[in-house]
């Protein structure tokens, strides 16, 4: 972990973007083109929620979404409840920095028993010629029995040097269910710090899937509180990095009470001199009996220079628990390679298929079919060396369009 001072020194190089006063339809900047995927888009540009003088949208079923700045005035109790679900000691220095300096973010409120069919999609675009510092805070509240999915996309459209420090807080009331998908495709000059805090009450189910295709430096940290019995958290992740890219995943799961379950499955393929880290920490607190917690991290290293630091860490203070952790780092399976070749597939393509298979296991946990198909396709292209940051957005179909960036940032 980097020290405070180095962050502060580093951060002084970056500028904050002022809030834009003129609204430009976000579709002009970006349009997600996943076929068959219908989402409620929550657009963020250079750290600001984009809206047309209407920062909060209220639906008939009571769902509210929009800018966190506006929500702080309109729904102070809910925002405060989410802010205080985690104690200060859980928050690292970047989260604290975010807390004091964030500009804006997304707010989503789903009332009791409302099941939102369309996924929400936060699309966070950075487009600036300046070295930009972006600090966003997203707050998501699910009432009792509420259900929703959220896709959070981080992309860059300029080759500037950016520093993104994003904190997302999720509060899940009892029986709520949430699927959270995180996709990242950033250019090599970017630094992205994502902090996700999930507070779960009883009988909740939280599912996350973090997919990193390209990264300058990315750190995804997830902290989960399983605070009441029968809460369940399932965290999946995939990172495909090459050159000098670096991607870290830090996970901390607190089993605070009895009968909760958690699972972590993270996989990575590393080429060239890429470095990845997986730090999975499970804490089974005293009295958290009948806990079941599993953790797996698997890596394939394609070169001698690629490096993975994996540190599974189990802290168990209860005695009736079922816990496991495992980490593997290796090459491709020879038996499978032989099987594929025995059907006429070249060694080269067999390797590619196996790498795809290895990665696709994570994609298979994506429950939105259109997103799963698209991500599967992106993994394939990434492994073929066809997907680069030049595709602008990993989710858009760069093959089928000419990308022109229509906004002149100086006019925003």
């Amino acid at each position: 972990m980097k020290s405070n001072t180095s962050y502060l020194q580093k951060l002084s190089q970056f500028q904050l973007q002022a809030q834009p006063d003129v609204y430009r339809p976000f579709e002009e900047v970006f349009k997600c083109q996943i076929w068959n995927l219908d989402t409620t888009t929550l657009p963020m540009l250079n750290g600001w929620y984009m809206h047309d003088q209407q920062p909060l949208t209220r639906l008939d079923n009571g769902v509210v979404f929009g800018s966190l700045r506006a929500a702080k005035d309109a729904f102070p109790d809910i925002v405060e409840k989410c802010h205080h679900a985690f104690s200060e000691t859980e928050k690292d220095e970047l989260t604290m920095l975010n807390e004091s300096q964030y500009t804006d973010g997304v707010f989503i409120y789903v009332p009791d028993e409302v099941k939102v069919a369309n996924p929400f999609q936060i699309i966070s675009i950075v487009n600036s010629q300046d070295d930009l510092l972006v600090q966003n805070r997203h707050v998501i509240f699910l009432g009792k029995g509420a259900e929703m999915s959220l896709i959070q996309c981080d992309d860059s459209v300029r080759y500037g040097h950016t520093f993104l420090n994003i904190v997302t807080e999720v509060f899940m009331s009892e029986r709520a269910q949430m699927h959270y998908y995180k996709t990242e495709n950033k250019e090599k000059e970017s630094e992205l710090y994502n902090h996700l805090y999930v507070h779960q009450q009883g009988y909740t189910h939280f599912h996350s899937n973090t997919v990193t295709f390209n990264a300058g430096y990315i750190r995804n940290s997830i902290v989960v509180n399983l605070s009441e019995p029968f809460a369940d958290a399932q965290l999946y992740g995939l990172y495909l990095v090459d050159k000098s890219q670096q991607c870290d995943n830090h996970i901390k799961i607190h089993h605070l009470t009895t009968d909760c379950t958690s699972k972590q499955l993270y996989k990575g393929i590393l080429d060239d001199e890429a470095i990845a880290g997986f730090h999975g920490h499970i804490i089974v607190h005293p009295n958290a009996q009948r806990t079941a917690a599993f953790q797996t991290n698997r890596n394939i290293l394609l070169t001698d220079k690629a490096k993975v630091n994996t540190t599974p860490f189990l802290e168990i203070y209860a005695d009736d628990v079922q816990c496991s952790h495992g980490a593997t780092t290796g090459q491709l399976d020879d038996e499978a390679l032989f099987y594929l070749r025995s059907r006429g597939i070249s060694a080269h393509n067999a390797r590619k298929l196996l790498m795809f298979a290895f990665a696709n296991e994570i994609i298979n946990y994506v429950e939105i079919e259109a997103l799963q198909d698209r991500l599967g396709d992106m993994v394939q292209r990434r492994l073929n060396g066809e997907l680069t940051i030049c595709d602008q957005c990993m989710l858009s179909d760069a093959d089928n369009r000419d990308f022109v960036f229509p906004i002149d940032p100086s006019k925003i």
Partner: protein, 252 residues
């Protein structure tokens, strides 16, 4: 089509095959029987090109070519298919993706245009019927979570897709219940033509009730010690392998 001459094969210095001679012509079905550990699967693995098997002596000619000089994938592209005893599970690779890659690489090798998506799906639907696989096979991962019977049916399905000239089915009957056995055997019979050949490796005669062989060979102690008609299989079923062993020892 296939001619094996005095084949000696070792694994880690231990000799498993000690001079196998075998000739198979187009249109024929051969059964290779024998007790466990006599080298039946080794023979299949050597023909497939699996690593770790050292050919110390002898030759294998396939369609007049020196088979042992071909890569694993080129053997398949030349029309050899092995139905494996223990098919590998490959989570994450869909059967459709696997077969499409294989088929198109084979077609490319033979100078044919690749199949497009629609043509491929039509072919898959047609061939699934051969082994009575009706569910959404195309999206399932290769062998992942398959029962023993499903794995073997999937092997025959692949055989149907790739239309090999020479198929070697290694213990395809092991672990199959009678219904699955019938389906697998029907599949094999359905695919039989006058231009292709099949080798069935088994140690039970029951599969041969369904797939009727032209020739039955007994492999023992790394050699083919006896060859005969399908009646030989029935005799083995009745009498076991002990008399073969005695005959072999006496002859030695």
């Amino acid at each position: 089509m296939l001619k094996i001459e005095n084949l000696h094969v070792s694994i880690k210095g231990r000799e498993i095959l000690k001079g196998v001679d075998l000739q198979i012509n187009a249109g024929e079905v051969h059964a290779i029987m024998g007790p466990n550990g006599t080298g039946k699967s080794t023979l299949a693995s050597v023909i497939a090109g699996k690593e770790g098997y050292e050919v110390t002596e002898g030759r294998i000619y396939y369609k007049g070519k020196d088979l042992l000089s071909l890569s694993i994938e080129d053997r398949a592209r030349e029309g050899i298919f092995i139905g494996f005893q223990y098919p590998v599970e490959i989570p994450g690779v869909s059967i459709a993706n696997f077969m499409r890659t294989a088929l198109n690489e084979i077609r490319e090798y033979r100078g044919l245009d690749p199949l497009n998506g629609a043509q491929f799906l039509r072919l898959m639907n047609e061939k699934q019927k051969v082994v009575e696989l009706t569910d959404k096979l195309s999206n399932r991962s290769v062998n992942e979570g398959f029962s023993g019977g499903e794995k073997k049916r999937n092997e025959i399905f692949q055989m149907a897709m790739l239309e090999p000239t020479l198929s070697i089915l290694d213990e395809t009957d092991s672990g199959l219940d009678i219904d699955a056995l019938r389906i697998v055997a029907n599949g094999v019979n359905h695919l039989k033509t006058k231009d292709n050949a099949t080798i069935v490796i088994t140690h039970y005669q029951r599969l041969l009730d369904y797939i009727v062989p032209d020739v039955v060979h007994v492999l023992f102690d790394g050699k083919i010690v006896k060859s005969g008609t399908k009646e030989l299989a029935l005799e083995l079923e009745k009498r076991g392998y002990d008399w073969i062993k005695e005959e072999y020892e006496t002859a030695k």
